[in-house]
């Protein structure tokens, strides 16, 4: 079971308190109607799925309830860092 550091609680807590939220830094467009079908498809469905460093979202569901971002290695599952939503990509 992973230990995940919640940047809001500033605590490492067991994985069961958290919910995974998919790839991070995919912002919803301010006006989706200006997006072409291809751009919208890209936003909706296309993900980077890297081998290695992955920027992803987690929510401390059974804790503070906040969404935050993390960098996790998809091979080793080691968390490099976690940081608050809204902070720049690390």
């Amino acid at each position: 079971m992973l230990l995940i550091h919640c940047p809001y609680c500033d605590e490492a807590r067991p994985e069961v308190e958290f919910a995974y939220g998919g790839e991070a830094h995919i912002a919803r467009p301010v006006d989706p109607s200006t997006y072409s079908d291809e751009q919208w498809e890209e936003f909706l469905y296309i993900r980077s799925n890297p081998r290695g460093r992955h920027h992803e979202r987690w929510r401390h569901t059974h804790g503070c309830g906040r969404f935050f971002n993390a960098v996790r290695d998809t091979v080793s599952d080691v968390f490099e860092t976690t940081y608050k939503a809204g902070e720049a990509r690390k």
């Binding site: 992973l2 109607s33 929510r59 969404f67």
Partner: protein, 954 residues
């Protein structure tokens, strides 16, 4: 009959006899014996029959690596455990153990004829047989394979035991309490941190238990550990897996070693241990050698024979021959000789063996055959001799013996290291993989880290023999009956990677996970392919390290504690009134309230008629509820839902439709605006948490500028639906401060006031098509208000109705249930809910997707009603629909039935369905092929009752 108890020695208690049975026969041993040592001491050589060929098999090892001697232990009804390894089963008074995989008895196994036909069971047998005609597989091969194969019988009755579970935290966890592990634990303890030392055996000591010279040290170290407050020592505790960030799961066996009537409390305890540092001290497992007849009972590992002699005081035979490719075989032979076990000869494929070993053997008058190999072992149910030949070439010579000890070198136990994704490196000197790199705070000490002196040796997969490989019966994996020639065949048939060879031959895939076979299999593949081992790869070890009971993994999470059961405050009342329940998400909901001998259909018909003609009360408390508060609440909901919300006036309700960004319906519900900055949202029963999570997601990560707060209030409100033409009359005497007149309180409105003296949010809403109210009261008053409404209702012919009636009533009105009439691929237009989409809104979640080419394309599945030609035929929900029932199979399926009921109100069946281009098929007849014939139905609008909605007004 060749093993016997030595006159002295061992850690057994010779003053305490234990009696037990094996295959129904009375046996005995001493306290401290394992099932294997006690039986060996009584001359037992045959312990089981092999998996595929039913060959006679004896003991190979003295620990958990044992592949052959699998037994079933019976501790009473529901307490029957198959596939235990005889060397790891401690004996106790009254132990009942039976051998496995024999028919009818161990000595006379009829299926052993299999052995004669073994040519029909080559590598990949299963794969190949699957490709034969299907009928032959089902009728011939599968029944035969089921009869022949399988390890033990799975239990058929409920396990009456209970299992404990706990978490632990420590600075250092040491897995394996041999000399290296004990030293590591003592060293870690000195620094003051919390230390756990766990070991799978009956007592700590590991390899030292088989070495009397270390017993004094062991006793002293054990006492030292016991005296330390910061050290927890757990024997009989197997670390079954290493998971992320030094999270080790270990199972402690608490009672299986005790006589049945002495066993109290939980059977096992699952430890979930998070450790700062994990030290693996799991030792190494000796490798068998691969030669003709290496599976005949009496052929075993040299280290096992040493353990049986020195730890248990048992000689495994009267005249033993050692086949070594490693110094450790010589050392064990000399230790055995010293303990009084007769070693007749040592055969070693190597010509050069250390002088001190040869000298030691000569002093012990042991014949030495350097440069020789055992080319075959002979015997049926017990070995009676070997043939040895110089360099394994030619006819060779025969030597009599009643036991053969194999010393094939050592394989470090890196299983947990591999669970932790630690990398391995090939070590030529060990002829095995050793730990290399890890990102965990993890290290290996002692033999499992390659730091142990077993002497020198060769690593050799297959001993040289005059017989060609394809004729040889030399076994690699004893438990799965894989021979060296099977690996040869796999390579011949084109398999190159060890992962593929493993799966094709099943080498290493039995319950022992190849503890004694993986390395030999790899070496043989390497030899046949003429490529180095490192290029062939290594298979992956996965938890559990040894087979683990499901009971311990489940722990307390069974029966009522399997998952939470949510009950409303009215649940007890429903129980008192005979409710039949169904589970919806984690909620227990009253499905119907049968009276007398009513079945479900009769009860539902009665409940439906009562609601349509008088009034019914329904516990709707499970509806998800979210309080949305803040200056931007309306703006937020406007962005979330498809409908417009800003124009909704306080005191009014609106049906809200929620889409995912992909444009498909994911939830719905009626919500009320209580004040300009306050909404009372409802969601589906199952969707409450999901919807709140989604809303939090948008609020926190996309629209953090909005000033809105979301609070789950599902369990704060009890909700009582009062539905039917007499609904107003039922609640009127109870309500204070709310004008219930139709003019003052129209449909889709909300009012705050009091009912029975309790604050209420009273909704005038209807999921039945009748005049209806939903009474929201604080949960703690729910039962009181329900009973008051119920009492008042009795004056008007009220019934309590359950979810089944609720479903029928809403289907008569064509109201959808998200998740039943939708499946995550249904848009508002598909569901006929286009009216709920705000056309003028510039944006909402999912709006852009509604313009995607595949969403606007014609031919999408649309929700329609179906009326069967036979009004009494009730379609099956989920049944597939076709346009032409006479088309050849496979037919083109154009949709499926989503909801289907018998409607008492209409006196006939009704159904809803998702059908391709459904709204263009109005009036068409479609067909639903079922096992008992095809049912025809006409496509109609999904609205079966009171289409104009006049009944809403009572």
């Amino acid at each position: 009959m060749s093993g016997f108890r030595l006159a002295d020695g061992g850690r057994i208690d010779r003053r305490t006899k234990r009696t037990f049975t094996f295959d129904g026969k009375a046996r005995w041993g001493y306290a401290g014996d394992s099932l294997a040592s006690a039986l060996l001491a009584q001359g037992q050589m045959l312990f089981g029959r092999s998996f595929k060929y039913h060959r006679p098999r004896g003991i190979l090892g003295a620990g958990v690596e044992e592949p052959n001697a699998l037994v079933t232990v019976d501790r009473g009804p529901g307490r029957v455990t198959p596939n235990l390894r005889a060397p790891s089963v401690p004996i106790y008074d009254g132990l009942h153990a039976t051998s496995q995989n024999r028919f009818p008895t161990l000595k006379t196994d009829l299926i052993a004829v299999n052995n004669v036909f073994s040519a029909f069971f080559p590598a990949g047998f299963y794969n190949k047989t699957f490709m034969w005609p299907r009928a032959a597989w089902e009728k011939v091969y599968e029944p035969i394979i089921r009869r022949l194969a399988g390890l033990g019988d799975s239990p058929t009755t409920r396990d009456p035991d209970h299992y404990d579970a706990t978490y632990a935290h420590c600075e250092t966890l040491v897995v394996g309490a041999g000399p290296a592990g004990i030293a590591a634990a003592l060293e870690a303890a000195a620094s003051g941190g919390r230390v756990f030392l766990i070991d799978e055996q009956e007592e700590i000591g590991g390899g030292a238990l088989s070495d009397p010279a270390q017993w004094a040290w062991l006793a002293e170290a054990s006492a030292k550990l016991a005296a330390l407050d910061n050290v927890t020592v757990l024997a009989r505790t197997t670390a079954i897996g290493h998971y992320h960030q030094n999270f080790v799961v270990a199972a402690e066996r608490l009672t299986d070693h005790l006589a049945v009537d002495e066993a109290e409390g939980p059977r096992e305890k699952l430890w979930r241990i998070r450790a700062g540092e994990v030290v693996l001290a799991m030792g190494a497992i000796e490798r068998p050698l691969v030669f003709e007849g290496n599976d005949v009972p009496g052929v075993m590992l040299a280290s096992a024979a040493k353990t049986f002699a020195l730890r248990y005081g048992v000689a495994v035979g009267r005249k033993l021959i050692v086949m070594a490719v490693h110094d450790s075989g010589w050392r064990d032979a000399l230790a055995l000789h010293k303990a009084g076990v007769n070693i007749a000869a040592i055969v070693d494929i190597r010509r050069d063996v250390a002088a001190d070993l040869i000298e030691g053997a000569r002093d012990a008058r042991i014949a030495c055959y350097q440069g020789y190999a055992v080319t075959s072992a002979s015997g049926g149910q017990a070995v009676n001799g070997v043939t040895i030949a110089l360099a394994g070439v030619g006819k060779g010579q025969k030597l009599d013996c009643d036991g053969v000890l194999m010393a094939g070198g050592w394989t470090p136990t890196v299983h947990l290291w591999s669970h932790a994704k630690g990398t391995l490196r090939w070590d030529e000197a060990w002829g095995a993989f050793l730990p290399d790199k890890t990102h965990e705070n993890l290290r290996c000490v002692g033999a499992c880290g390659g730091d142990w002196d077993f002497g020198k040796g060769l690593s050799i997969g297959l001993l040289p023999a005059p017989k060609p490989l394809h004729e040889s019966k030399a076994f690699v994996d004893f438990q799965n009956d894989v021979k060296a020639r099977d690996i040869g065949l796999a390579v011949q048939e084109g398999f190159r990677s060890i992962e593929h060879i493993k799966r094709y031959t099943t080498n290493g895939m039995a319950t022992d996970q190849g503890k004694t076979s993986n390395l030999n299999g790899l070496q043989i593949a390497s030899g046949v392919l003429h490529r180095p081992v490192t290029e062939i790869g290594l298979t992956t070890f996965r938890p559990p390290y040894t087979p683990q009971s499901f009971g311990a993994i489940l722990g307390h999470h069974k029966e009522a504690l399997f998952q939470p059961l949510r009950k409303t405050v009215i649940d007890d009342w429903a129980a008192d009134h005979g409710a039949v329940y169904e589970n919806v998400a984690q909620w227990r909901r009253a499905r119907y309230f049968p009276q007398g001998s009513e079945d479900m259909d009769a009860a539902v018909a009665r409940e439906c008629r009562a609601v349509r003609s008088a009034v019914g009360v329904f516990d709707a408390s499970t509806l998800g509820k979210i309080e949305v508060v803040g200056p931007d609440a309306a703006e937020f909901l406007n962005r979330m839902y498809t409908n417009p919300w800003k124009s909704l006036e306080p005191g009014r309700c609106r049906y809200g439709l929620l889409l995912g960004e992909h444009g498909f319906i994911i939830d719905d519900g009626v919500s009320a605006r209580l004040a300009p900055d306050r909404f009372h949202l409802t969601t589906t029963t199952g969707g409450a948490a999901r919807v709140l999570n989604m809303m939090e997601d948008y609020l926190q990560t996309e629209w953090s500028d909005l000033d809105v707060w979301l609070t789950s209030t599902t369990e704060q409100w009890a909700v009582i639906a009062v539905q039917g033409p007499k609904a107003r009359r039922v609640i009127a005497p109870l309500v204070e401060g709310i004008d219930l007149s139709p003019e003052a309180f129209p449909h889709m409105a909300v009012r705050e006031g009091q009912i029975c003296g309790v604050e209420t949010r009273l909704f005038r809403v209807s999921f039945t098509g009748e005049l209806g109210f939903e009474v929201n009261v604080p949960a703690q008053h729910g039962r009181l208000v329900w009973e008051a409404i119920w009492a008042e209702g009795q004056k008007h012919g009220a019934v309590a109705y359950g979810t089944e009636t609720m479903h029928v009533l809403r289907a008569e009105k064509g109201f959808i249930i998200v998740g039943q009439d939708t499946d995550g691929t249904v848009t508002p237009d598909d569901a006929g809910l286009g009216w709920a989409v705000g056309k003028k809104k510039p944006d909402f979640v999912g709006k852009r997707s509604l313009a995607r080419p595949d969403i606007v394309a014609p031919g999408r599945k649309q929700l329609v009603g179906l009326l069967t030609d036979d009004p009494q035929a009730v379609l099956e929900e989920g049944a597939q629909i076709v346009a032409d029932p006479n088309q050849p199979v496979p037919m083109t399926m154009i949709g499926h039935v989503t909801s289907s009921y018998h409607s008492a109100t209409l006196g006939r069946s009704i159904a809803m369905a998702l059908v391709a281009g459904g709204r263009d098929r109005m009036g068409d007849t479609l067909h639903i092929p079922m096992p008992n014939g095809t049912i025809s139905a006409k496509v109609v609008a999904p609205m079966f009752y009171d289409a104009e909605g006049s009944r809403l007004n009572g």
